[in-house]
């Protein structure tokens, strides 16, 4: 009697809210989604093939451009993997480790601010977009003072850091950190208690913890479902074991929980930065690079190393043949690529208007998905 008229519609590659060139092939019945299939590859640039032809230090600017929103963590992942292959992880000086952690946490704040801005404007609230970018501007100014670029940072080198901190940088960080909590409170006053926001996000896109672990989802989507897994605590790297911070986890696994998890992560990153500032001041100035040769030639072997980027577990798998200056094979495990698998299951049964919220909540960046 009521037969289902299925319509196949393209949620096209060019769309204001797909955060890049993502194409989702929707099968809808009226407004309900029956199936959503993401089709990717529109931003494929052959990064992994490029890595095979370039020496290791030359690869670092290219890793910036994969997850262009959070490039310091991309750099960190690559650099740490090569150091693990070369076996010099213990020789990185303390000051370099602390600088790496500070840049990563600043990058986490910046990435989450961008996520909140775009997620809110997709759901319809226009003002958090501008407020978040105002704070993000301050973080990007800090990056600019340190390494010279705002978005594609190229701020880490194999064995340490390229430069030491410029004068006034730590004061700038302190000023930012003091005012950031109030800014997060401002965003929360606009969104967290708002009943329209809750209606749009509570109960949308539920991922159960078992499903999340089965699909290999990491990062805030995993923690929003209740699994307490953060690589900074589970497989610590750099100097995270000495820093005090907590890992927020949610309960229901819906969009609202993931929103709350990311807001809390911003506050925790703020706390980490506060702890790092006096620690950096206590290390000797200028001691930022391990004593390795300028030509990077790792021994033969293969290694996989992953770090916690703002979007999830970012992993690099490098195979080296011991003789050449470039990798034999470098494979990247991008978090957004693996998290995107959850989209069809999350979207089934929801309305088309919810699809926008779902794509926003798993926080994909197409540069990372397609590499």
């Amino acid at each position: 009697m009521f037969d289902v008229h299925e319509m196949e519609v393209n949620f096209g590659p060019q769309h204001p809210s797909t955060h890049g060139v993502l194409r989702v092939l929707l099968r809808i019945d009226g407004e309900r989604i029956i199936d959503a299939k993401p089709i990717i590859g529109y931003l494929h640039r052959g990064t992994e093939k490029l890595f095979e032809n370039m020496s290791y230090p030359m690869c670092i600017p290219h890793t910036d451009r994969m997850d262009y929103v959070a490039s310091a963590t991309n750099n960190l992942g690559f650099v740490e993997t090569v150091e693990k292959l070369m076996g010099i992880t213990k020789q990185i000086p303390k000051r370099a480790q602390l600088m790496r952690v500070m840049l990563s946490e600043l990058q986490r704040i910046s990435s989450h601010l961008l996520w909140l801005a775009t997620h809110a404007i997709d759901i319809g609230a226009m003002t958090p977009f501008f407020y978040c970018f105002r704070e993000r501007e301050q973080v990007l100014d800090l990056f600019e003072e340190y390494c010279g670029a705002r978005l594609t940072l190229n701020c880490m080198r194999i064995g340490g850091m390229p430069d030491d901190l410029p004068p006034g940088w730590l004061d700038g960080v302190e000023k930012f950190v003091d005012k950031f909590e109030d800014a997060v409170d401002e965003y929360e006053s606009l969104l967290t208690n708002n009943r329209i926001w809750k209606k749009r996000t509570v109960g949308i896109g539920v991922i159960t913890p078992e499903d999340a672990i089965d699909w290999g989802i990491t990062g805030p989507p995993l923690r929003g479902s209740g699994v307490e897994w953060d690589l900074r605590r589970a497989q610590p790297y750099e100097c995270y074991p000495e820093l005090k911070f907590e890992i927020p986890i949610g309960k229901n696994g819906d969009t609202y929980d993931r929103y709350l998890v990311r807001m809390e992560e911003m506050r925790q990153s703020n706390w980490i930065l506060k702890q790092c500032i006096p620690l950096v001041k206590a290390t000797p100035a200028g001691d930022i690079k391990a004593k390795i040769s300028r030509v990077v030639r790792p021994p033969e072997g293969e290694v996989y190393h992953s770090i916690e980027s703002p979007k999830g577990e970012l992993g690099y798998y490098i195979v080296s043949d011991g003789k050449s200056q470039s990798a034999y094979r470098c494979h990247v495990r991008p978090p957004s690529f693996v998290n995107l698998q959850a989209l069809p299951a999350m979207a089934k049964g929801h309305l088309v208007s919810d699809l926008v919220a779902l794509i926003g909540t798993i926080d994909i960046v197409l540069g990372e998905v397609d590499r």
Partner: protein, 175 residues
């Protein structure tokens, strides 16, 4: 730790206080200073280490080709020939730079070339605080040696003078 779910009280639900809080925030924002920079009358000044347009110095360059090796995209084109020159009364073989071109269209301003340069102060540097590079014709973005050094016709920021030593002071550490 579990995230905090806000617990609304009955007054929040019936008197719409959650929406009114949002209205209050937006209203307060009307009286805070605005962050727009009105380009081109006001211009944002980049930091000292900003990686802008290149500048090249022919006198300091020793034609070692390390910058071309370091470039990830291979956009530095160098031609060198050997010459016998009289230096201090003896014939020495020197390398003379013929061509030093950079294809700025494809540059990603990663400054690996600047890091690779062995001279002190560097012969190629990017800390020129210039980012307004737009042109109407694509071939204008292929810089040869003279253009890289003298920057004729380009808007110029005074930048860091090429004779100053490395301005990267360090801070925040024990001496």
């Amino acid at each position: 730790m579990h995230v905090e779910y806000p617990k609304p009280r009955w007054t929040d639900k019936f008197l719409l206080l959650d929406m009114l809080e949002g209205l209050k925030t937006t209203f307060r924002e009307l009286f805070k200073p605005k962050v727009t920079i009105r380009y081109p009358e006001e211009r944002m000044e980049p930091a000292n280490r900003f990686r802008g347009m290149f500048r090249f110095s022919f006198d300091r360059c020793i034609a070692c080709k390390l910058c071309a090796l370091a470039c990830p995209i291979d956009i530095i084109y160098i031609d060198v020939h050997d010459e016998q020159r009289e230096v201090d009364g003896k014939m020495k073989k020197l390398k003379v730079l013929d061509r030093y071109d950079i294809d700025v269209k494809r540059c990603m301003f990663c400054s690996l070339c600047e890091e690779a340069c062995p001279t002190k102060p560097k012969s190629i540097w990017l800390t020129t605080k210039t980012y307004e590079l737009a042109t109407y014709d694509r071939s204008d973005l292929y810089f040869n040696m003279q253009q890289l050094e003298y920057w004729e016709g380009r808007p110029e920021y005074a930048g860091l003078p090429p004779d100053e030593p490395e301005p990267k002071q360090i801070e925040g550490g024990m001496p």
